[in-house]
């Protein structure tokens, strides 16, 4: 094992861990007597600085791949090198696919935003610890997004999840926070057990923990029914992370009870990382023409046989996706707590994204894929980009939404729908931000949420024609019409109904600046949808 290479590949994660340690050192070592304000600000600055550093590293190097052995020796009989080694996942612990870099940068930026929202909160006196936990969880997220090996996946997920449990419980004076954390922890522990159980099946059946090796060994030996058991277990484990039905039960309670920055982090960063993992899994196990080895697959008949589609996993994901869309949207209709409403809307959004991931597999146009290799026109790449686009913009919007909820909650003491009454009078700017973010979540153009949905659904229809995907897309579009109702319920209170209390709501200028920046980003990215698409596409190698 080449440790220098390992260090290189995990540099962003390492930077986050170092920043976390530095935060602890400064906060506990030097600022023990300082005021809470100073301690929060210094912790946030150090944490955000660490994240920024990691972003810079990623922008310069891209997410580097880390192979376990000599990747060249694994696939025999192919002229080398067809693809640059950094984009091969063969025998990798950590993958460096183009979308991984994008997702990791996204995770870091969302973490920075979460940290900045922390400036205005007072739920804890232990600012340093909270920031350190956020940073460690974020580094877990980075690992999850890039992992190519079952063990790395599991370690990353645990690092991420443990951080989230702690963050949820951080509001020590609140029974709700403790309850939320306990529920989250129990569900999480159980789902981790499922996941590990599923992984053990994969290892037992294929003799390897590497995703690509597993795929290869299965396609050589034929599908064993036990794989279906393994898939169900794995989907159960990951379904918990993305809050997909029927593994969603923790979400409303956790969103409601957790301190706002923790809830925002769970709703955004953790989602981005988990969907990154699902993308990796579906690329390896489902997609025959993925961006990583699509070209090899079509050039080499030997490999072409390897990339069979696995309908089993696809069907499981489709069921989960449909259930999430339907239940999430319908349950959100009756919520009176905005946090719970956001939780159910998150479940619905997870359903849409899962729909994209489930249909990743069905692409069968192997013969022509290589023409488009690496170009935005390759359906598999389009699907990949669509999912990445959706997850990132959704994460951004949700953080903003939680930011608004947090400000309102501090002023009114509750996150009930009625505490938003007359928001347009109490703080017009905040109301405008809320308007933009919620309409974006509902998918109204020209906001970015529309393009996210649009890209995703177009990609689903692009990769898989047929009545089932079409019916599901139709269902998804119809349900997003339903979703407008509950988003309007909040906006109606903010803009239409009369205020009971008209005292202005004050927000910390930093918080306000972040929220306005997020809303502006949602509008600008929505008016110029190609900006983000081109940025994501720019990480692909030009061949």
């Amino acid at each position: 094992m080449n440790y220098e290479r390992l260090f290189h590949a995990t540099l962003p994660e390492t930077l986050l861990e170092l920043a976390a340690l530095l935060v602890l050192l400064v906060d506990l070592g030097f600022l023990r007597k300082a005021s809470l304000k100073t301690r929060i600000v210094s912790s946030v600055v150090i944490g955000a600085g660490g994240c920024l550093f990691a972003v810079l590293v990623l922008l310069r190097n891209g997410a580097e791949a880390f192979p376990l052995g000599n990747w060249m020796s694994i696939v025999k009989g192919i002229e080398r090198p067809i693809i640059p080694p950094d984009f091969a996942t063969i025998g990798l612990l950590l993958g460096g696919g183009p979308y991984v870099t994008v997702l990791q940068i996204g995770i870091l930026i969302l973490t920075i935003l979460t940290l900045i929202l922390l400036v205005d909160t007072q739920f804890t006196r232990h600012a340093g610890e909270f920031v350190a936990v956020v940073l460690m969880a974020a580094s877990g997220g980075l690992l999850v997004a890039g992992a190519q090996d079952l063990l790395v996946i599991f370690v990353g997920l645990e690092l991420l999840s443990l951080g989230l449990y702690i963050m949820t419980a951080f509001m020590k004076g609140s029974g709700k926070s403790a309850e939320a954390a306990l529920k989250y922890y129990l569900f999480g522990g159980m789902s981790a057990a499922f996941l590990l159980f599923g992984f053990s099946y994969f290892y037992g059946l294929s003799g390897s923990t590497n995703l690509w090796e597993i795929q290869r060994s299965i396609s050589m030996s034929g599908t064993n029914p036990l794989f279906y058991v393994a898939w169900v277990l794995v989907v159960a484990g990951l379904g918990f992370k993305i809050a997909a039905v029927p593994f969603h039960l923790w979400a409303p309670d956790t969103y409601e009870g957790a301190p706002t920055p923790a809830a925002a982090f769970i709703a955004s960063v953790s989602k981005v990382a988990s969907f990154g993992l699902l993308l990796t899994l579906s690329l390896n196990w489902l997609s025959p023409g993925g961006p990583i080895y699509g070209k090899e697959a079509v050039v080499e008949p030997y490999l072409r046989a390897v990339y069979k589609t696995w309908p089993g996993l696809s069907v499981i994901m489709l069921v989960v996706a449909t259930a999430s869309m339907v239940l999430g949207n319908l349950a959100a209709l009756t919520q009176v707590s905005v946090r719970r409403l956001l939780a159910y809307s998150a479940i619905a959004h997870a359903g849409y994204i899962s729909l994209g991931i489930a249909t990743h597999s069905s692409y069968v146009g192997l013969g022509s894929a290589w023409i488009f290799y690496g170009s935005a026109l390759n359906p598999a790449i389009r699907m990949n980009n669509a999912v990445v686009y959706y997850v990132l913009t959704y994460g951004l919007t949700t953080i903003g939404a939680f930011g608004v909820v947090s400000v309102v909650e501090r002023a009114t003491g509750s996150d009930r729908l009625d505490s938003f009454l007359g928001l347009h009078k109490r703080n017009p700017l905040l109301a405008a931000v809320l308007l933009v973010l919620f309409l974006s979540l509902a998918g109204i153009p020209p906001l970015v949420g529309f393009w996210a949905k649009f890209n995703l659904f177009a990609a689903v229809l692009g990769v898989s024609a047929g009545p089932v995907p079409f019916a599901l897309v139709a269902l998804a579009v119809a349900l997003s019409a339903v979703s407008l109702y509950y988003y309007l319920q909040v906006l109606k209170r903010a803009y239409v109904m009369h205020a009971i209390d008209e005292t202005p709501i004050k927000a910390h200028p930093v918080t306000m600046a972040v929220l306005v920046a997020i809303a502006a980003a949602v509008v600008i990215l929505g008016c110029f949808p190609a900006l983000l698409q081109n940025w994501i596409q720019s990480f692909y190698p030009v061949l």
Binding site: P445, A458, A474, V477, V496, N534
Partner: protein, 502 residues
């Protein structure tokens, strides 16, 4: 230049939103300036485009990976409808002169709605059109929910959900068309040449057509229209009936019929005389015409009468569209323009001039107020508008409805016959409303009479006079000299019906 109608409206909306509170007069004049500038641009574009076909205004790649272009263009149909939008915008601002509650926000939503409408009429890219179409939904909701009257929150939510459900249907159809076409262009012209398989058109056409027709008030999806119109503030009901319903009809024509012409072909079998989607929609349109008129006849609320009359009149548009012949479709576009003007005028008189003074819309109460004597301007305005609405020769409605009827007769005579019933009832409900509200001799109770004595209605203001004169004048002008619009429309319709190239 026409593209600036869009930019200007959105810029105006932004400026209004940023305006400090309490500067109501400034907000009004700003809105009027923006609307008037939009109208000037629309007139200029209309005049410049006379005798010409489709002119591309802007064409830049917008979402290159999907082949979506920011493609604005205008043909005769677009130019006429842009002109209508300009007129409706100016009239809307004039009749909102008395809005005192959150004035700047009102005009911000108003101008955003107008901008979206301009955008739809000028888009020649499928998805760009859809984006503008959806942009128009949200301002409608807030205009009604905040500044509306009777059951406004219910009506606003109903309208928003109907619109969004319709646009969801459209989006599904468009996504399917995009995936099926397999081309990497989403321009309407390019897709017009895509030659979708007939089996595909057969199910995609009704989906898209119905989706758009919901907003055009097609029976039985019309129920949002009367409640929405009644609840909306005057300017918003003018816009709803005047231009927003036209968005739906325009979408039916520009997207539904132009992209999926074979969706209207015969199914190959017929069931109780219905053998194609064309028959289905024609029957729904005829039902809408007759049903809307009959229900309008039975209303007790003045504004509901006009609300249902809109459903009836929009039925003419839909019927004209599915005749698929030159004269019928021309008539449909003409009716879009004509109804936009006349409905605006009617709503202005009912919702603003009368209601703001009498504070009631119940026919039974208005009967006792002797409005022809006390509000002669309103009475004569309504007489003119009512005549135009009935389709009396000399007004725009006559030209439009005549063409639709001739087109329907050419297509299937019984369509025209059934529609005739609607026209007769149309005369009846207009007459009934006019007679009851303005020219009734019924006396109020002695008590009310005593109160009324010596109590005068507020004088008619200049914005009201200007608005009424402008709208009535346009209707009359177009009625007397229809060629001015017909030349543009006919040419564009011919190109559109010839298929593909539009």
């Amino acid at each position: 230049m026409l593209a600036w109608t869009i930019y200007l409206s959105f810029a105006g909306a932004l400026a209004e939103a940023l305006l400090p509170k309490g500067r109501n007069a400034l907000a009004r004049w700003l809105a009027l300036a923006v609307a008037a500038a939009g109208l000037a641009l629309a007139v200029q574009g209309f005049v410049a485009g006379m005798g010409q076909g489709r002119l591309t205004i802007v064409d830049v790649p917008w979402v290159p990976s999907m082949g979506i272009h920011f493609l604005l263009a205008a043909d005769g149909i677009s130019r006429v409808l842009v002109l209508l939008t300009g007129l409706a915008a100016v009239a809307g601002v004039l009749f909102s002169w008395n809005i005192e509650l959150r004035t700047n926000e009102f005009f911000a939503f108003f101008l955003a709605l107008i901008g979206g409408v301009y955008g739809v009429f000028l888009s020649f890219d499928l998805f760009l059109l859809f984006v503008f179409y959806e942009i128009a939904i949200v301002p409608k909701y807030f205009l009604i929910a905040i500044w509306g009257s009777t059951r406004r929150e219910y009506a606003a939510m109903k309208l928003a959900l109907y619109s969004f459900a319709g646009s969801a249907m459209v989006l599904i159809g468009l996504l399917a068309a995009y995936a099926t076409a397999g081309s990497h262009s989403t321009g309407l012209v390019a897709l017009g040449h895509a030659n979708f398989p007939i089996s595909f058109q057969m199910w995609c056409f009704p989906l898209v057509f119905t989706g758009f027709a919901i907003l055009a008030g097609m029976w039985p999806f019309h129920t949002w229209a009367p409640t929405g119109h009644v609840a909306a503030p005057t300017a918003a009901s003018m816009l709803l009936a005047g231009v927003v319903m036209k968005l739906g009809a325009y979408g039916c024509l520009r997207v539904g019929i132009a992209l999926f012409p074979h969706g209207l072909d015969s199914w190959g079998f017929s069931f109780i005389g219905i053998g194609s989607w064309r028959d289905v929609f024609a029957v729904l349109a005829v039902i809408g015409i007759v049903y809307g008129a009959l229900v309008a006849l039975a209303q007790t609320d003045f504004k509901f009468v006009i609300g249902y009359s809109s459903v009836s009149h929009m039925g003419f548009v839909l019927l004209g569209l599915v005749t698929l012949n030159q004269i019928g479709v021309t008539g449909a576009v003409m009716q879009m323009f004509s109804h936009g003007i006349i409905a605006g005028l009617l709503f202005a008189i009912v919702g603003r001039i009368v209601y703001e003074r009498t504070h009631t819309r119940q026919l039974a109460e208005l009967e006792t107020m002797h409005l022809s004597k006390r509000l002669p301007f309103a009475a004569w305005g309504f007489v003119v508008a009512g005549m135009a609405s009935m389709g009396l020769p000399g007004f725009s409605g006559f030209v439009a409805e005549l063409q639709v009827l001739v087109g329907a007769w050419i297509a299937k005579p019984w369509w025209a016959l059934a529609t005739g019933v609607g026209i007769v009832v149309g005369v009846a409900y207009t007459w009934r409303a006019m007679q009851k509200v303005f020219f009734s001799d019924a006396l109020p109770s002695a008590h009310v009479l005593e109160q009324e004595h010596g109590q005068h209605f507020a004088a008619i203001t200049w914005p009201e006079v200007t608005g009424v004169v402008m709208l009535a004048g346009v209707s009359l002008w177009v009625g007397l000299y229809p060629r001015i619009l017909l030349d543009s429309i006919e040419r564009a319709v011919k190109a559109l019906l010839a298929g593909g190239g539009q």
